[in-house]
Symmetry: C2
Subunit: 309 residues, 2 copies
C-alpha cells in the first residue's frame, strides 16, 4: 500500500515549480497560467468514482451535478470565474442512454446556472464501475489570484456557511461558492482562501501550511450545520463540523479591519450566505479554543484520500 | 446497451453550439475558446482505461506516456502548441508508490520533450481498475485554428506516416505530431486536419462529414507500415492501414498548389517525417481507387467506441 503523503511529496518535488508562465502549480485548489493579457487562466480537474465518491443510488442527475460542482468549488477557491469544462466518462456497459443523459443533464443545469459551457470530452464504455472526470477552466482577475498562501498573523478567518454532516445530502447538492468568491474578491483583499473539501480542520491546516502561519479558531464561533446534529452517531456535532469533508464552503483570511467590515455589512446576505468569523491567524501552531477557555492543539482531522488540486 | 451514436447525436444537440467565446465546441479534436487577446485557448481531454485502452503488462511508464501523448495528438490536430496538462488518476489499491511514480515519469518525459508543464490533478484510490484522465491545454495561432471542417473539393489529402498495425507497439510509443502540425501551419494553409485515432477510413469520414465534402484515396499511395505486414492475421496489410486505430498520424487537406509544393519540398524530413499524398477531396462520396483502377465506396471501417474530442 502506498502512502498518499509520500506520493504528494514526491509529486510536488518532481513536477517542478512555477515559472513565468505557470503562476501556480500543484498544491493549491487549482493551477494558474499566465495567458496573453491581464486575465489569468485557472484550471482544475476532479475525478469522481463510484463506490468512493458516490453511489449509483444517489441518482445520475445528482452525481453529474456533483462532478461539475466540485470543480466549480475549486475555481471559487481561487476567486475565478468559470468559463468552460470538458467531461470524460468511463461508463459501465450496463448503463443505458437515458442514464447517461441524466448525468449530463445534472451537469448542464449547473453549468447554465453559472453561465459556463461544457465543450467536449471523451466517453468510453468498460467493464469497471462508473468514473467521471471533469476539467474546468476559469478566468481570474482583474484582482490578484487568491491562493492558499498569503494569510498573515492577525488576519481574521471566515467560513461561508455551517459545517458538518454533509453526508446527509449537502455533499451532493451544495452550491459552489463561485458568486460569493467573486463578490468578496471585489470588496475585500482576500489574503488566502481554500474550499472545505477535506474538512475544516484539515483544510485549515492546508491553508496555514501554505501561508506559513498558524491559527486559533473558537468553538463558540464555528457554525455547526443542523445535519451535524441530526447524525446522532456518537460523534459530537462539533467534531463533525471540524472533520467532515465535502461541505464545500469557503475558508478565507482577510486583514482585521476588512474582517470587521464584512462582519458588520454581511455583504452576501442576498445570496443567503452568512459570513462566520471563526478565529484568527497567529504566527504558528493550530489551536481550537473551547467554550470553557481551554486551548488545545487542533490536529488535521478529516478526509485524507484525495490530494492534488 | 446504449448506442454510442445516439449519445453523440444527443450531446451535439444538447451541449449547444458555439458563441462569441466558445469558438469550437464538441465534435472536433479539441475545443477552442477565445481568450482575451489573439492567442486562442485549445482544450482537450482523454481518459485511458485498463483493459480497454491498455494492459498493465504494457508497463506503467509507457502507459503514462500514452495518456499524455493522445492529448498532444489532439492538440496537434488543431495545430496548437501544448502549454500544460492536469492529470487525474483512479488507482487500484494494490499499486505501490514506485508504480505510480513510473506512470508520472512516462508523462513527464514526454511533457519535457514538448516543453509543457504538468500542473496539478487529482489522485484517488479505489477498488476498480486503473483509470487515467489527462486534460491538456494549448495555444493556437497566430494562424487560424485548424479544424476538421474546411476541406474543399480539389484539396489534396496527406498523411504524416505509414499506417496500420499500431497494436504491435506504435499505439503506445507514437510521437504526437505536434512539431509537424505547427511547422505545417506556418508554411501552408491547412484547410482541415484530424489525427488518425480511429483508423484512416473512419477519420477520413469524420473529416469529410465535417467539411461537407467527399474524397477519393488511392490504394497505391496509402503508406502501409511494416507492422501492418508483420501482423499476418488473415487481414490484409491494406485493410490494417485503412481500419486500425491509434496510429496518431495526421490526416490533412491543403489546396492543390500547396499540396504540390509539400510533395516537392517534403519540409518535415528533418523530423523524419515523410508527407504522403493519399488522394483528394471531391464534392461527395468517399471512395478508394484500387491499383487495378476499380473505384469502390470506402466504408467507415475502424474503431468506434470513443467519441467526443
Amino acid at each position: 500500500m502506498m502512502s498518499e503523503l509520500d506520493l504528494i511529496n514526491w509529486l510536488r518535488k518532481r513536477l517542478g515549480g512555477v515559472n513565468e508562465q505557470i503562476l501556480v502549480g500543484l498544491g493549491d485548489d487549482a493551477a494558474v497560467i499566465k495567458w496573453a493579457s491581464d486575465r489569468k487562466l485557472v484550471i482544475t480537474t476532479d475525478m469522481m468514482l463510484e463506490g468512493t465518491c458516490f453511489l449509483a443510488e444517489h441518482g445520475m442527475r445528482r452525481i453529474g451535478r456533483k462532478a461539475l460542482a466540485i470543480n466549480l468549488s475549486d475555481l471559487a477557491a481561487m476567486a475565478a470565474e468559470p468559463i468552460a469544462a470538458v467531461v470524460s466518462l468511463a461508463l459501465p456497459r450496463s448503463l443505458d442512454l437515458p442514464a447517461v443523459q441524466e448525468l449530463y443533464e445534472g451537469m448542464l443545469a449547473l453549468a447554465e446556472e453559472f453561465a459556463m459551457a461544457i465543450i467536449g470530452g471523451d466517453t468510453n464504455s468498460w467493464s469497471g464501475p462508473l468514473a467521471i472526470n471533469v476539467a474546468a477552466i476559469g478566468r481570474a482577475g482583474p484582482y490578484p489570484v487568491v491562493r492558499r498562501k498569503g494569510a498573515q498573523p492577525g488576519d481574521w478567518l471566515f467560513v461561508t456557511g455551517p459545517l458538518g454532516g454533509s453526508i446527509l445530502g449537502k455533499h451532493l447538492d451544495f452550491i459552489p461558492r463561485v458568486r460569493e468568491a467573486l463578490r468578496l474578491s471585489h470588496i475585500v483583499s482576500l489574503r488566502a482562501m481554500i474550499d472545505i473539501s477535506d474538512g475544516l480542520a484539515r483544510d485549515l491546516h492546508h491553508l496555514c501550511q501554505e501561508s506559513g502561519c498558524g491559527a486559533i479558531i473558537e468553538e463558540e464561533h464555528i457554525p455547526i450545520s443542523s445535519a451535524a446534529y441530526a447524525l446522532r452517531d456518537g460523534v459530537s456535532p462539533l467534531e463533525h463540523a471540524l472533520s467532515d469533508g465535502e461541505d464545500f464552503e469557503l475558508l478565507f483570511a482577510v486583514a482585521p479591519e476588512e474582517g470587521k467590515r464584512l462582519l458588520q455589512t454581511q455583504p452576501l446576505q442576498d445570496l443567503d450566505v452568512i459570513l462566520y468569523p471563526i478565529g484568527e491567524c497567529i504566527p504558528e501552531g493550530i489551536y481550537i479554543r473551547y467554550r470553557d477557555g481551554h486551548l488545545a492543539h487542533l490536529p488535521p482531522l478529516g478526509y485524507t484520500h484525495r490530494f492534488g488540486n
